[in-house]
Amino acid sequence: MQHTRWLAVSIIALAACSGGPRSSVTAAPEMAPPGSGDREQTADQQVAQVLSRLTFGARPGDAEKLRATGVDRWIDEQLHPERIDDAAADRYLASAYLTLGQTPAALEQKYLPPGQLQNQAAARGGLTRADSAKLRESQQGLRQMTMEVQSARVARALMSERQLQEVVTDFWLNHFSVYEAKGPRERYMLGEYENRVIRPNALGKFRTLLGAVAKSEAMLFYLDNWQSQADSARPRLNAAGRAVAAAGRGGRGAIGAGGRGVISPLGTPVAPVAPGQQMAQRPRPGLNENYGRELLELHTLGVDGGYSQQDVINAARALTGWTIRGAQQGGGFNFVPQVHDAGEKVLLGHKLAAGRGIEDGEDVLDIVARQPATAKYIAFKLARRFVSDTPSAALVARAAATFTRTDGDIRETVRTIVTSAEFFARRAYRSKVKSPFEVVVSAARVLGAQPDPTVRMAAMVGQLGQPIYGHQAPNGWPETGDQWMNTGAILNRINFGMTVAAGRLPGASPMGFKDSDILQTATRELQADGVIHALLGGDASVETRAVLISGENPLAKDLPPMGDPPSDPTMQPPAAGRGGRGGRGGGGGVQPLPAIRGLQLVVGLALGSPEFQRR
């Protein structure tokens, strides 16, 4: 064992001595894998490329395992997550979180929305002490839910053996973005959205995924479709699903503002006065186009996908009545015929006959999922995620062709992209800038970190500018480097690297990387090459290597003692509420980090280097 490690280090030393424009410090000889003659990247670059694009970063030993398996076989294995044992991650997640596995309805029953509690109290004549306690408990429960989904998201990305599924899940959660602070109810729905709607369908058929999203409480709530109803001039259905004449003229404005007598999408009368948070969500009868529009613009066809405003309206009309069952009835998707617009509609040239119910919405999803514009748009976004900020038209066309040929099979579309010559081209190598999520998780993985059951590790993602479930607008986080890179962002990333190197990333030791024990007492050059090997995939610029080597060469006895990472007061969980708005911690300064030196400093420099910001 010891022998092998020393061998690795001596190979590092040899490689470093050989010089050359890049200090490639890899242990294996370069050779192209079989059947990959059109790949420009070296064998080692291919390993690095696969680990940085199809996983959230290499853990200690991952590169060796991948090399032993072979790049192509490894990709094929990862494309079939159902065949990969992930019990350890599942067990951990089931044990570490309280609210994660519960349905939105169960959570809502347990932690009533604060507005509802206030209303009930008001109806009884004011808040009692018991009401206040209950209110606090419910507010704390809501905070807990957000923190748990954020923490669990990072933990799974860190631990899962099904890395490609996690990367694609991240892609779809961003494509079908929802926002935790849309309203208190959104928080009940996030765990289910991620775990039962997105992840199981991440590599399945696009139409299945689209349908699951369309019927998810999280999306119905976020984009308001749950309260979208037929305008009053339109024919509706009765409870039996038969078309009935329009309720009368007058449109939305004619309904009493107090809400008296209004039928909610749940088919029950809305309380005459529904103040508080509920007021914001009180169904206002009439068509709501939000989901219809984003379905076309963001989820399927793309903004240039060739649809009209009339298509938006008609998609929204077809989806009226797609709503959420009340928590007391068990929650979940519900179709309410009485508020469905049963008139005839035309979408993208397809006629939807009058007098129908839920099949209107299903047809809309069928139509948009199979549009050529959708194939192209999804192919483009996947290619941009996996290959380059500006993927070639040829690659996008091939991926779109796969999408169309396989009836929207995401697995096969991804396969086309990640086995392409473009994916293994020289110009694709390290061409992407990591998102903040990728920065944090890849740092944790490269140091072999344990998952953090608190929200602290996840909060670091937010501090780097990408709070989890914290993107307000429905378009999701940016995917291109120029949008992630600016003065503030690079400063935060460098400081994050120094924070990690100082032992302040919960669960991670800065010495957790491969062969760190041997390197502690090695020469500075060996330390630099060992860190480049372990943290930067064995590839750093000459300049970066020179900086890592520069400075004093400390003896092991000067190293600060390594223990459990102390807690960092600046990395506390964000305050409750509105995704970092208002009431977060004081405007006070930043606690200085303890001085670090020696190998620990080399780690900090590597994590703060330009190379680590890329993938």
Partner: protein, 414 residues
Amino acid sequence: MQRRYFVKSGAVALATMGLSPTFLRRMTFGMELPAVQKGKVLVCLFQRGAADALNVVVPFGERAYYQLRPAIAIPAPTSAARSALDLDGFFGLHPSLAPLKPLWDRGLLAPIHAVGSPSNTRSHFDAQDYMESGTPDVKGTTDGWLNRYLAASGTCAECEVSPFRAVAMAPQTPRVLQGSSPTVAMDALDQFAVRTGGDAAARLESLYRTGSPDLVHGSGREMFDAVKMLKSADPQRYQPDNGAEYPRSQFGQRLRQIAQLIKSGVGLEVAFADIGGWDTHVNQGGVQGQLAARLDDFAQSIAAFTTDMGDKMENVVVLTMSEFGRMARQNGNGGTDHGHAGAMFVIGGGVKGKKVYGKWPGLAPEQLFEGRDLALTTDFRTVFSEIATGHLGATKLDTLFPGFKTGPRLGLLG
């Protein structure tokens, strides 16, 4: 000269090193654009949670006001200490806003009433989204109106690409500043520093000063220049002028740091800060209580800022906003629920103050919006447009507020 230093070592130097096209475009974008008014600063303050406008700028001349709010109304001005502060015989300020009253008296403060978003949403999320994107009822807008201003107007030839042109004193970039133009978000000025000393910091810097110039290296170099610029401005040693005393609150400290940035000459043009705690559904209080405490912090912080800025307020406009107002009638919990139109304040040397702007819609039952809320008579984009053009010198209003037809001007600025 600080600015020149940055341009020289920053943008120009970077431009000669063959940076990535996207990065270059961003860096040089400003150069071709018309110069804006030099040295003008806009400070945007967002009261998140929907401030109760009717108890902030109190329509004490309206009898219905007292009928709607028997328990929480602010009494009409009397000699008693805790009553509305008379402005014009009809409106008065909440007594907690006393620190702002001298600004009114000097003609520097202009309240606008019955102003807000034409959208009838009563969702905090949607309404904040609309006020920050500047596009009511359009969800798909990806950038904020202030970022569109930054992108469309460029800066003067010498002071362009200051990394501190647009700063949010906030943990994350707020919606209103999101977009293609670079902005900086920070919790505190001393956070804008490399969190390590001496040797380590110098070596981190050399990681970015050497190596092939690209997007990542370019951002790094720009950042190290910016950190130096801020350091030489020496924010640690800052002493407010004119005896200004900022509250110890988060909001107060953020305003103090905005004043520091303005005075340090790093090229700040747009600043943003927010203050929460306005969602007063329960026990909001009247002349005292929850809302009064929020207003204490709000008013003391802004008053300290204007005192600190002194004559420099000639070039500064402070603009306050909240996503909507609250219901005209108090609710069963001694609070108020989500409403419609609200109130804003515009403060500055160039403001035509000592006048309450906006048409007053009245509070009689038939005058209320949807039978319950203060009706809207001024679109918030009218206010934003006047300040963007009149103060900052913006020209492309159709870019800032697509599809918005400006109504009659309020004439807020001289």
